[in-house]
Symmetry: C2
Subunit: 248 residues, 2 copies
């Protein structure tokens, strides 16, 4: 058994865990002065995301990058909010707002600290090109950027977590997933990886999950994870770095 | 036609172009005091590398990472040099000397300069885990690490160069391959990418190509590339940054 393998690799979820998609998307929509509330628009866009990935996971859609899934959802949300008159270039630019999300304030310093002791990579459903532009925008430096695109499987498919371990030639217990989402952590832990839960109470904006459509909120709430299944519970990424013994 | 696409992505060959494998491997072998000349050992090891990759490219071997190809060649070279008595742990450690190569002195500052203006990624036949450890060792930071492993094709297969363009959703002419090897550049240019040749006169040690077995040296010499096929010829990576208008 590999229960005792020393921790070598931290793999980070990105949207919500490292960057604040709600506020960044809401501000970009508000700036367009479309007469729609940016926050509600951001939540509707994000709510379409797990459904779109599930269509790929079920094989109903062939392999499709998040950039393209985001665009399919955006076209729906624009119709839903009855937005008319945005030209193709403006829609394409808005779709790439996910390449320009701002980091939570603790992310850049904490990741710098963690990289001194561990290999720190991403494991995001965001495509590689998106993550590269996002990281440049946010000033984030990683040891490696990995994506669902690297494995042609979206999280929470086990091929993603185990794919990280294969790349580094390590047993699952030498990898820790860092995420603000219990469903992601649950799937990684089921593969034998360690899990670090990071609290992001503002991920869905000031209204929290209650601001989402009830069915989506309920789906996000179903992931329950016993506290003792987690290796770490952290209030933010600096707290994670503290708990993992990384000097400030 | 996309001849005029602005340059967006620089993709770097790594072994020989960014890091000095000859000197790093030779010193590691000399330090083991095996009674074999480190430089000749390094050249013999490297000489096995294109042949091993060609076995994968022809389908004679299934997909095999460079770490594993390096080990197959190392076992041969140890026999060839009649080295006996190295234990498994020492052989495994020596095999990972390719994770601990030193950069050419211009590499770290020049790549920092280039990243301010362009997306700068690797495109190496070295596997992802190898490149991550090598980059941490050498102090190299990339916007993205890409590998033959990302595409399950070794360079000079066109799937590698075109795979980079697909990740960034750019036409081939918006990508420039940076390499010290004309065969690599020739293949990238045949795909419509731009090519930057970087001189590394010491790549094969003080003896140059003449120190290699004649058949290997001849194979390396066959790649000819008209000067006007190259977008840039540079004496080192700082010269490349100068020519591409990146402030020091």
């Amino acid at each position: 058994m590999d229960l005792e393998a020393p921790l070598k690799v931290l793999a980070f979820d990105v949207f919500g865990t490292v960057v604040d998609w709600y506020d960044s998307v809401a501000r970009a929509v508000d700036a367009l002065r479309l007469g729609v509330p940016g926050g509600a628009f951001a939540l509707a866009w994000r709510a379409g995301y797990p459904l779109a990935m599930d269509r790929v996971r079920r094989g109903e859609l062939g392999w499709t990058k998040i950039d393209d899934l985001h665009r399919m959802i955006l076209d729906d949300v624009l119709r839903q909010f009855q937005v008319r008159g945005l030209g193709e270039a403006a829609i394409a630019h808005l779709n790439h707002v996910w390449h320009r999300l701002d980091p939570w304030p603790d992310a850049v310093p904490a990741i710098t600290r963690l990289r001194r002791k561990f290999i720190v990579c991403t494991l995001s459903n965001g495509n590689l090109g998106l993550q590269v532009e996002l990281s440049k925008h946010a000033g984030l430096n990683w040891d490696l950027i990995l994506s669902a695109e690297s494995f042609h499987h979206y999280k929470p498919d086990r091929e993603t977590y185990l794919g990280v371990c294969e790349i580094f030639d390590i047993p699952p217990s030498a990898m820790m997933l860092v995420a603000a989402h219990k469903s992601d952590l649950q799937a990684a832990i089921a593969c034998g990886c360690r899990g670090a839960f990071v609290q992001r109470p503002l991920e869905y904006g000031p209204g929290g999950l209650d601001a989402l459509p009830p069915a989506i909120a309920a789906a996000l709430r179903t992931a329950t994870l016993a506290d003792d299944a987690l290796a770490v519970r952290a209030s933010d990424l600096n707290d994670l770095a503290d708990q993992l013994g990384c000097p400030a």
